[in-house]
């Protein structure tokens, strides 16, 4: 069974620091996504990425956030200057065809900003 992996599983950082969350999507997938889930709240869409560019982003995904697929296998989410309210579980997902029926989620990275 193919799976999406994410590292680290947990990260603690100081407010104002930069963090990079890493994801390894399923190898033949073409569409990539980041979501977040603040504790006790629903999962929120952040950004989708296809063909080496952002295809859609939510209002949450402001200039503090960026995504990259640096080497053809990893898919990263960078938060430039973390805020307390960035504390959340961040999920990566990948999809073969973009229709959602082949979308797989990673286990998540729990980010805590102090």
């Amino acid at each position: 069974e193919p799976e999406v992996t994410q590292t680290p599983s947990h990260q603690v950082t100081q407010m104002g620091q930069e963090v990079i969350l890493r994801c390894v999507p399923i190898s033949n997938h073409l569409y990539f996504y980041w979501y977040r889930q603040i504790l006790g709240q629903k999962v929120e869409f952040l950004v989708s990425f296809y063909n080496n560019e952002i295809s859609e982003k939510s209002e949450i995904f402001d200039d503090q956030f960026s995504v990259e697929r640096p080497d053809g296998s990893n898919f990263t989410l960078k938060i430039r200057s973390t805020k307390l309210e960035d504390s959340a579980m961040y999920f990566c997902a990948s999809d073969l065809a973009g229709g959602g029926e082949t979308q797989y989620f990673g286990p998540g990275t729990r980010l805590l900003v102090l």
Partner: protein, 114 residues
């Protein structure tokens, strides 16, 4: 615009009794609909998906859901609850009419009483 409403934030059932988790959606396009489960401190796992084929969809662990266009509903059911079903369940709609954007419901916490 699309939205998902999960009518119950908490559902409590006795082990061995039926489970019903309700979901209503709105979408401007023909939607794809999903149910995901999240066990404590775990990632999201796909239970089942509807993508315009059969309206009664069977998923893993004995769960199924029926797409009812006239009622704009996609309720999740299971004939007999098991202790291991205790988790949070998310109904998700995917807009297939444009760029991929996934909208999550607010989740339903299922408690199974022995």
């Amino acid at each position: 615009a699309q939205s998902v409403t999960q009518l119950d934030s908490h559902v409590s059932v006795s082990e061995g009794t039926p489970v019903l988790l309700r979901c209503n959606y709105s979408s401007s396009y023909s939607p794809s609909l999903f149910w995901y489960v999240q066990h404590p401190n775990k990632g999201l796992q796909l239970l089942l998906k509807y993508t315009s084929a059969a309206t009664l969809v069977k998923g893993i662990n004995g769960f199924e859901a029926e797409f009812k266009k006239s009622e704009t509903s996609f309720h999740l059911t299971k004939p007999s609850a098991h202790m291991s079903d205790a988790a949070e369940y998310f109904c998700v709609v995917l807009n297939s009419g444009g760029y991929q954007k996934v909208t999550f419901g607010t989740g339903t916490k299922l408690q199974v009483i022995p």
